[in-house]
């Protein structure tokens, strides 16, 4: 199956969404990401049982932070898909790309024209 989705998306693979930390999400925005989505297994189907439930809580926490600091929580979202839902994945990427295009560039990029921290500093 060859599915097309916009090339503006950068995919970062993790063993489970439970690995995705609040700091990873915040850092993405510090580096100037216009939008971020976390895509995990369906609820109840995480191979590590609750990784995606932790991820959901973290995503919600970061959305709240982004709202409060003026970046906008609507730039972050979480989706739950199974491995057989490639078509839906491509569709989500198209949807989110459209949404982020509508929102325009992240206020971080607007303010600085670049990321706020060098990539080499990634730590959590």
């Amino acid at each position: 199956m060859r599915l097309q989705y916009p090339p503006s998306v950068r995919i970062i693979e993790v063993p489970c969404t439970g690995k995705v930390d609040v700091m990873h999400l915040l850092m993405a925005f510090e580096y100037g990401a216009d939008g971020v989505i976390v895509v995990g297994c369906m609820e109840g189907e995480c191979h590590y049982s609750v990784g995606n439930l932790y991820a959901k809580k973290r995503v919600n926490r970061v959305k709240e932070i982004l709202d409060k600091v003026g970046v906008g929580g609507e730039r972050l979202a979480m989706y739950n898909l199974s491995s057989g839902m490639g078509g839906r994945f491509a569709e989500i990427i198209r949807e989110i790309t459209e949404k982020v295009m509508e929102l325009g560039p992240s206020p971080i990029r607007v303010a600085t024209g670049k990321a706020t921290r060098p990539i080499a500093e990634v730590t959590t």
């Binding site: 932070i65 600091v69 003026g70 206020p107 600085t112």
Partner: protein, 222 residues
């Protein structure tokens, strides 16, 4: 251990919004365990503040650090060569740590970044509950290992009161009656005769009533 919760982000933003160089200082002690003020929380808060200042088009330097404990001078001293670089520090330690830092760095603005709540236990991750009020004269030996000061809403020494209802406290049905717990535990231990002995009035001179307290251990001091 001491239990705390992070202050709402908007409260911290309001405290630091007029500064340009802010240090977020976590504590690796109690507040790390309850995930309110350790290195991780310091990183998250610093990142949030950087995002805030950056989107507002402001140049700001927001750094994070975490000290082994903020309730000890030796660890606080590790900040001595860094302090000049900042206008203000947000300390994520408990109220003891915040105050001790302010005492050591008298000219620096030190703000609290957490709300310190109580002495308690970790029931589960994210669920902490109070167990002790540091009264200074522990009576757990007489009360089946359950503290009536911390766990009876009225701090009664001869409970339960008439508001105890089916094991619940009258102030809130979600709170177990401390004296019911004491009764049940003493029953399990075969020590119900405790209820037949008159209880002397508790010596409260070691509690807060005498003003700020101090421990002087001559055996430890040089």
């Amino acid at each position: 251990m001491i239990k705390a919760v992070p202050k709402p982000l908007e409260e911290v933003l309001d405290l630091v919004k007029d500064f340009t160089k802010v240090l977020i200082a976590g504590c690796d002690g109690c507040v790390t365990v309850c995930e309110a003020g350790g290195l991780k929380e310091a990183k998250v808060l610093a990142s949030a503040l950087r995002l805030y200042f950056t989107q507002a088009g402001r140049q700001a330097q927001i750094d994070e650090i975490s000290l082994t404990r903020q309730c000890e001078k030796e660890y606080l001293a590790q900040l001595s060569d860094k302090m000049d670089a900042y206008d203000a520090v947000v300390s994520l330690a408990c109220g003891c740590g915040v105050q001790y830092m302010a005492e050591m760095y008298n000219n620096k603005i030190i703000y609290p970044g957490v709300d310190t709540c109580f002495l308690g236990v970790n029931e589960e991750r994210g669920l902490y509950s109070e167990r002790c009020q540091a009264c200074g004269r522990c009576i757990l030996a007489e009360t089946g290992g359950i503290c009536p000061i911390a766990r009876c809403s009225k701090r009664m020494l001869n409970g339960p009161c008439g508001g105890s209802d089916a094991g619940r406290c009258e102030i809130n049905k979600d709170i177990p009656c401390g004296w019911e717990l004491i009764y049940e535990r003493l029953k399990t231990l075969g020590q119900l005769d405790r209820f037949e002995k008159p209880v002397d009035p508790k010596d409260w001179t070691t509690s807060r009533d005498g003003g700020p307290r101090k421990i002087v251990r001559e055996d430890l001091r040089i």
